[in-house]
Point group: C2
Chain length 423, copies 2
């Protein structure tokens, strides 16, 4: 079967995928403990970022994060016991994507952690993501677990999660996220590395409901939502997860539905190829800014699934909406060039996510493995950078590896060449 034979049905399938992506309407409807809402989640499961690996293959900060998750859940009372339970498989390690959620950096998600519940009002599908841990350099998702991290996670679970749940539920039909995302792109955010405007817009959206709390509770929540400008990354991720997952409904499509990495591998999934991961080496740095005194040798990959935003035409695919990031994305000209390049590997332009600097052109959306394979251009990725020994040490613009895309395209063609039982 030649490429040209594939062209028309694939184009139709991709149109269908884009239609599903573009008509999604993600709504934050609740904030609940992971075990209560994630399909398949159990008390003795620890989820983490990336195409899943056998437990022994997780190293460094990602491994530390998983161990921290076991301790945080009280499944073990010492590091050694936690490792033993993991070694014996008595605590199961899973990939976030297989449980309907996405994880930031190491993406550690355990049973009692509150997750944002985002529902697509068009389909009823759901996506989930844990809450932002705050700006402290020590965070479980950056491979650190200590008394301070534990206290902060408890505060999220016992105070922030329940309050946010009350506020979101009292807002009638929830908080529609897409209007916030659309506006934030006009206010300097690309909704991956920059969420300053969106975090403020979210606060405004919940304000009426916030006034129903008593003043002390309202102050706690306002302080959490407003203290840093990163809160909204998590709603953006959960929203992107549910939008991207809808595209699995487009059989025969070559559009990417997930990109994620672990400490070892980068992987993608494709609408027409189901849950199978196509794996390759880790993304490479194009440009980055690190904390003073840190060098590229200090960088340690610990995983990351916030790339789900790029899957939906955000993040690096909307860099020209976020010039405030220019100091670590190579300057405005490079950002514009990189953003324009992404149109070469996407099947469409988002009808609602728009870039003012490009004359309100829709963001490049729907990464097409066929186009990536044909051009050799791989997706640009905006990501936070973890350092050896744990903690965030910077942020930068990365490039996905080519192999997962060419492998997926090859698998797609060979699948298309195999008559299915019904044909």
């Amino acid at each position: 079967m030649s490429l040209s034979d594939l062209d028309e049905p694939v184009a139709r399938a991709n149109e269908r995928a884009l239609d599903l992506l573009f008509t999604s309407d993600p709504v934050l409807i609740d904030v609940r403990p992971a075990v209560a809402v994630l399909p398949g989640m159990t008390r003795d499961t620890v989820l983490t970022s990336g195409p899943p690996l056998p437990w022994p293959e997780y190293t460094g900060g990602q491994r530390e994060g998983i161990i921290g998750g076991v301790l945080y859940e009280g499944l073990a009372s010492s590091r050694e016991e936690a490792v033993r339970l993991l070694d014996r498989g008595e605590v199961r390690v899973g990939g976030c994507h297989d449980f309907g959620c996405v994880g930031s950096l190491a993406g550690i998600t355990t049973a009692s952690m509150p997750v944002l519940v985002v529902e697509d009002s068009a389909s009823g599908g759901r996506g989930f993501c844990t809450l932002f841990e705050g700006a402290a350099p020590d965070r479980l998702n950056y491979g650190v677990y200590n008394a301070g991290v534990q206290r902060n996670l408890e505060f999220l679970a016992e105070v922030v999660g329940p309050l946010l749940s009350r506020v979101v539920r009292s807002a009638g039909s929830g908080i529609r996220l897409r209007p916030i995302m659309e506006r934030a792109l006009r206010q300097g955010d690309e909704l991956h590395s920059r969420n300053a405007a969106a975090s403020g817009l979210f606060l405004r959206a919940v304000l009426p409901a916030l006034l129903d709390l008593d003043a002390a509770q309202a102050r706690v929540l306002i302080s959490y939502l407003g203290a840093d400008d990163y809160f909204f990354l998590r709603p953006a991720m959960a929203a992107s997860k549910v939008m991207a997952d809808r595209m699995y409904g487009a059989e025969g499509s070559t559009i990417v539905t997930a990109m994620a990495f672990s400490c070892r591998e980068f992987g993608i999934r494709v609408a027409g190829l189901g849950p199978r991961w196509f794996r390759g080496p880790l993304p490479e740095i194009e440009t980055a800014r690190l904390l003073p005194g840190r060098t590229r040798d200090d960088i340690e990959p610990m995983g990351g699934e916030s790339l789900i935003t790029e899957v939906c035409g955000l993040g690096a695919f909307a860099q020209a909406a976020a010039f405030p990031l220019e100091s670590y994305q190579g300057g405005p000209d490079a950002m514009v060039r990189r953003n324009l390049e992404m149109y070469e590997i996407t099947a469409g332009e988002h009808p609602a996510f728009k870039i003012p600097f490009l004359g309100y052109r829709g963001t490049p959306a729907g990464i097409d493995v066929a186009r990536v394979a044909a051009t050799g251009i791989t997706p640009a990725l905006d990501v936070g950078i973890a350092g050896r020994g744990g903690g965030q040490i910077g942020a930068g613009s990365f490039r996905a590896p080519l192999r997962p895309f060419t492998d997926a395209w090859a698998a797609f063609r060979s699948q298309a060449a195999t008559p299915t039982p019904t044909s």
Copy 2:
């Protein structure tokens, strides 16, 4: 006396002017009725925009606005009586700038209207501006006075003003405006035609104090502050007024301290030339977007002093921070070109108002009449557009006329050539 003899002392004076501008720290400290705080204000004074004219010379919407102001204050019970009082001078018409305030569009400011009280913490100087009337096309400042306009002005005076005053005063030492302005420039505002981010940031800044109101009052104020994205223009104007006025302290400086226009004339003031207005024809449109069905023939100038933002390196001097305005400012490339051009006529770059797209370069600040005269480049101006018969019909980018700048420069040179009594 030749130009070169002037060069050094003028450069020093201009540095001093910029230093005063750049070290200003405008703080919103209260919201009070105009008569209580504007120096020289009386119950039978109506203030309006632009270099002052004798009453009979005000025409069209600006004249209607002044008459509306007389009626709103209850100084007359009919339009005819109002005109009679104005004709006889029993109601006095004044220019906003002479009373420490600036007016948006027609700039009608009367005794009982609440004004934002902005104080420069560095000098104790004050600037004032009325509150945004809301997004309704019928507004007093757009030349319309009717029962709806009256009700809205009463709501501002009786409800919004007092509530905002309570909130601002309860915030301890007031609300510092400069940090909000600095951040807004990173979120797509230029703080003249676009104030979407700044309005949200202002709401966040007063939120802690807002929680002290009862919930019903808080809801009223939140609804006013958040209903439209234009609230912050007025704080930005009052802040710009007090920042610009500080530059009068720089004797011998050729930096512009005010730009304003009436229905007839455009005028400027210069730091080294005191309160004298240098007048010229009205600004000309470079590019504009009008409401559907409206043409340039429908445009009616009714005055405007929001150009005080351009005096401080904002508005058109920060267009490249506000690409969301591209659809009516000629597209992103034109906006960048126009913004860069402004560096040719300014004496410095603002150390805190920065443009991400220009690599965080400071905005061009301190319009120098000598540079304008030498280059023939006049200031670009972002302005709202009023229509014949009243109401807003669009917005656009305008250019100031050259004459006031060349006249001011000539006056400056001839003043410098005349020995003063003390020399």
